[in-house]
C-alpha cells in the first residue's frame, strides 16, 4: 500500500505527484483505489461551467491535481459551412460563433474580406466609426453577461439580475439599429448593411447617461464585498510567461501585467483617433480580471461617446457597385426590405444597377486569391480570422483563431492546486464562450 496520505498532504496545496500538464492518455489517469485520488467529471451539463464545457478533475480530497478539459460539445462546423456560401453570407454564420460578442466576429471577418479585396482604404469613415461604436457597445454587453453569470456562479444572484437588466438597455439599442437582439449580421464586407435610423443619437446618449451609474452600482455591490474578494483574490493565477506560452491574450494577459491590447497595438477601423486607456493589473488573479473588466466597460463608454460626437456623415458602404451590397433598405409593404426608390431605380432607370443587384444577390462578389490574417480585440482576447480565397465567390477556407479556445487550453495550468470551488471562480474569470471554443 502506498504511503498514507495524511495531514501533511492535505495541509499544503502542493501536488504530490508530477502530472504532465498536457495530460496523458485516458488510461493513464490514476486509479481511484490504489492512488487514493478521485477522478470527477464536471459537465458538460453543469450550472456553473460557462456552457457545455466538460472538465475531468483529478482530485486529492478537494484539491485539483489535474484538470483535463474536454470540448467539442458545441462543434457546429461553421468553418466548413462558410465554404459553401457566398462571402457575404459568411457573416451570418460567423456571427454565431462567439455569440456574446457577435459584432466582433462580423467585424474581424469583414476586415479580412476587405483586406483580401484590397478595399480597406475605401471603406467609408462613417462605416468605420459606426463599427467602432457598435463593437464597443457589444464589449460592454459581453462584459455584463460575464459579470452576471460569474456572479451567479459564485452566489451573487443580484449581479445576475442587474447584469441582465443593463444588458437589456444595450440590446434594445442594438435591436433599434440592426433589427436583432443577438447575432446581428449587421457589419458586411465593405461597410454596414444599412444606416442607423433616426433617433439613434438620442438613444445612445441616453445609454451613456445611464450606464455609468449602473456600473457604479455593480462596483458598490462587488468590488469591496469581502465574500467576493475572498473568493477571487489569489485564485486562478497565471503568470505572464505562462500566458504567453499558452497563447492567452486579452484580459487574462492584461491581468498579468502586460499592457497588450490590439486596439492600441494594431488598431483597426480608425480606433486610434479615440482617447482611451487600457486597464492593467499586476496580480494575475481572478480579482484583477474582474477589476479590468469593470474598468474596460468605462473605457468603452468613453470610446462610444467620442465616436458619437465625431460621427461623420456620408455613405456607409463602399462605392464599388460590384462589392457594395445595395444598402437602401427600408421597411416596405412586402416586408422584404428594398426601398421603393431603389426598386424604381433598378427596374426603371438603370440597367447596370439592376445587373449589379442581380449578380450580387445571386452570386455575390468574387475575391482575389490569397490569404490574410486579421485580428481584432474581442472582449475575450485576440480574435483572428485566417481567410483563404481562391478567386471565386465563396471562401476557400475560413479559420477562426478564437481567444476562448486557447483560454480553455490554459485551464490545466490555471487550476492546478486549487480547491474545487476555486476552479469555478477561475474558469469564470477566463470568460469562455463555448460557441467560440467549439465553432
Amino acid at each position: 500500500m502506498s504511503e498514507p496520505r495524511g495531514a501533511a498532504a492535505a495541509s499544503t496545496l502542493e501536488p504530490r505527484h508530477e502530472f504532465t500538464v498536457a495530460s496523458g492518455e485516458w488510461e493513464n489517469l490514476p486509479d481511484a483505489v490504489e492512488d487514493d485520488l478521485m477522478v470527477i467529471n464536471m459537465g458538460p451539463q453543469h450550472p456553473s461551467t460557462h456552457g457545455v464545457l466538460r472538465m475531468v478533475l483529478t482530485l486529492d480530497g478537494e484539491t485539483v491535481l489535474d484538470n483535463q478539459p474536454v470540448i467539442g460539445y458545441l462543434h457546429t462546423g461553421i468553418e466548413k459551412n462558410t465554404e459553401y456560401r457566398p462571402w457575404v453570407q459568411g457573416v451570418t454564420y460567423v456571427t454565431r460563433m462567439d455569440y456574446l460578442s457577435p459584432l466582433f466576429n462580423e467585424l474581424a471577418y469583414c476586415l479580412a474580406v476587405e483586406k483580401l479585396l484590397g478595399i480597406t482604404e475605401e471603406v467609408p469613415e462613417r462605416a468605420s466609426a459606426l463599427r467602432v461604436l457598435l463593437t464597443e457597445l457589444n464589449r460592454i454587453s459581453s462584459h455584463l453577461v460575464w459579470l452576471a453569470t460569474g456572479g451567479l456562479e459564485l452566489g451573487a444572484i443580484s449581479a445576475m439580475i442587474y447584469g441582465f437588466r443593463e444588458r437589456e438597455t444595450i440590446i434594445d439599442l442594438l435591436e433599434f439599429v440592426t433589427g436583432l437582439r443577438m447575432n446581428h449580421a449587421y457589419i458586411r464586407p465593405g461597410g454596414l448593411s444599412s444606416d442607423v435610423p433616426e433617433g439613434f443619437e438620442d438613444r445612445v446618449r441616453q445609454v451613456l447617461r445611464e450606464m455609468p451609474q449602473r456600473i457604479d452600482e455593480f462596483e458598490d455591490l462587488l468590488t469591496e464585498n469581502p465574500i467576493w474578494v475572498e473568493r477571487n483574490k489569489g485564485v486562478g493565477i497565471l503568470s505572464a510567461a505562462d500566458c504567453l506560452d499558452l497563447g492567452v491574450t486579452g484580459v487574462m494577459l492584461r491581468s498579468a501585467g502586460i499592457p497588450h491590447d490590439l486596439r492600441k497595438a494594431q488598431p483597426y477601423c480608425g480606433i486610434e483617433q479615440y482617447d482611451f486607456s487600457v486597464p492593467v493589473t499586476e496580480t494575475s488573479d481572478a480579482y484583477g480580471r474582474f477589476l479590468i473588466r469593470i474598468r474596460e466597460m468605462r473605457e468603452s463608454l468613453k470610446i462610444v461617446e467620442q465616436a458619437l460626437d465625431a460621427l461623420p456623415g456620408g455613405p456607409i458602404m463602399v462605392d464599388d457597385p460590384k462589392i457594395g451590397w445595395p444598402s437602401q433598405l427600408a421597411l416596405g409593404p412586402d416586408g422584404i426590405g428594398n426601398a421603393k426608390e431603389y426598386i424604381s431605380k433598378i427596374m426603371g432607370q438603370s440597367m447596370e444597377a439592376l445587373i449589379h443587384h442581380f449578380k450580387l444577390v445571386t452570386e455575390g462578389f468574387s475575391v482575389p486569391p490569397g490569404q490574410v490574417y486579421t485580428a481584432v480585440e474581442s472582449p475575450r482576447g485576440e480574435l483572428g480570422y485566417h481567410v483563404t480565397s481562391n478567386g471565386t465567390n465563396k471562401p476557400y477556407r475560413v479559420k477562426v483563431r478564437d481567444p476562448s479556445f486557447l483560454n480553455i487550453g490554459s485551464l490545466p495550468r490555471l487550476t492546478q492546486g486549487l480547491l474545487v470551488a476555486d476552479v469555478i471562480a477561475a474558469v469564470a474569470s477566463t470568460d469562455p464562450v463555448m460557441g467560440g471554443v467549439d465553432r
Binding site: 451539463q45 453543469h46 456552457g51 457546429t76 459551412n81 437588466r165 440590446i171 447575432n183 460557441g435
Partner: protein, 218 residues
C-alpha cells in the same frame, strides 16, 4: 361546463385531471440546459425584464432529476446528443421538452455533419419555438402554450430509458415535428397519432383549435 354557468360565482367545479394539470403547469421547473446563443435569450427570459418567475419558473434546477421541463436551447452537436438523451432519461415523469430555436427544432442554418438536425431525433419534443434566437416574448409564448397543453393532457406516453426515438414512435405513434400541421402540408399529414397526442391536439385552448378550424382541418 353547463353546470358552472348556473351556479353563483365563486364556486368552481373541477375534476382531478384538471386540478393536477393546473398544479403541474403552475410551477414547471426548467432544467438548466442552455447550449448556445438561445441560452442567453433563455437567461434573459428568466431575468428581470421578461420575468419567468411570474409563471413559477424562475427556479432553474441544476439537476435534471429535480426538474420537469427541459428547454433545449441551442444547437445540439453530434457529441452532445447522447448527453441530451442521458439527461432526459434522468428526469422524472411527468416531463416535457421545449425545443427552443431553429437549431434545436430542425438543425437551423447548420445543415452539416456536426449538428443533429432537430433534437426530436433524440428526445420527444412537446413544443417547438422557432427563431434564431427567439425573442424572450416568443419563448414565453411557447411556454404559455405548453402550459395550456399540460393543463389539458391526460397521461401521455414517454420513451423508456434507452429507447430510441424510432422505436418510441413505432410504439406510440408520436408525431414528428415536420409531420404536423404546416401551411401546405395538410395533404401529407400522417394518420398515426397516439391517444395522448390526439386528445392534446383536439382540445387545446380555444386559440389553437380556432386556427385549425380556420384552416379547414378536422
Amino acid at each position: 361546463m353547463g353546470l358552472e354557468q348556473n351556479l353563483p360565482s365563486g364556486i368552481l367545479l373541477t375534476s382531478t385531471e384538471r386540478l393536477i394539470g393546473w398544479a403541474r403547469a403552475g410551477s414547471l421547473w426548467p432544467a438548466t440546459f442552455g447550449l448556445a446563443c438561445c441560452a442567453i435569450e433563455m437567461m434573459c427570459t428568466g431575468a428581470a425584464h421578461y420575468d419567468m418567475a411570474r409563471f413559477g419558473m424562475e427556479v432553474f434546477r441544476g439537476s435534471p432529476r429535480q426538474s420537469d421541463l427541459m428547454i433545449v436551447a441551442g444547437r445540439v452537436s453530434q457529441k452532445m446528443a447522447p448527453v441530451v438523451r442521458n439527461l432526459y432519461d434522468q428526469m422524472a415523469d411527468p416531463k416535457w421538452v421545449i425545443s427552443m430555436g431553429v437549431c434545436a427544432s430542425s438543425g437551423g442554418m447548420f445543415n452539416n455533419y456536426a449538428i443533429v438536425q432537430g433534437v426530436d431525433h433524440v428526445v420527444p419534443v412537446d413544443m417547438y419555438v422557432p427563431g434564431c434566437p427567439p425573442r424572450p416574448e416568443m419563448l414565453m409564448d411557447g411556454i404559455v402554450k405548453l402550459h395550456e397543453v399540460i393543463k389539458q393532457e391526460q397521461f401521455v406516453e414517454r420513451p423508456r430509458k434507452g429507447e430510441s426515438m424510432e422505436d418510441f414512435r413505432r410504439r406510440t405513434g408520436w408525431a414528428v415535428g415536420d409531420e404536423t400541421d404546416m401551411p401546405g402540408w395538410a395533404a401529407t399529414r400522417t394518420q398515426a397519432k397516439g391517444a395522448g397526442g390526439e386528445s392534446a391536439e383536439a382540445n387545446t385552448m380555444g386559440r389553437l383549435s380556432e386556427t385549425a378550424a380556420a384552416r379547414g382541418d378536422a
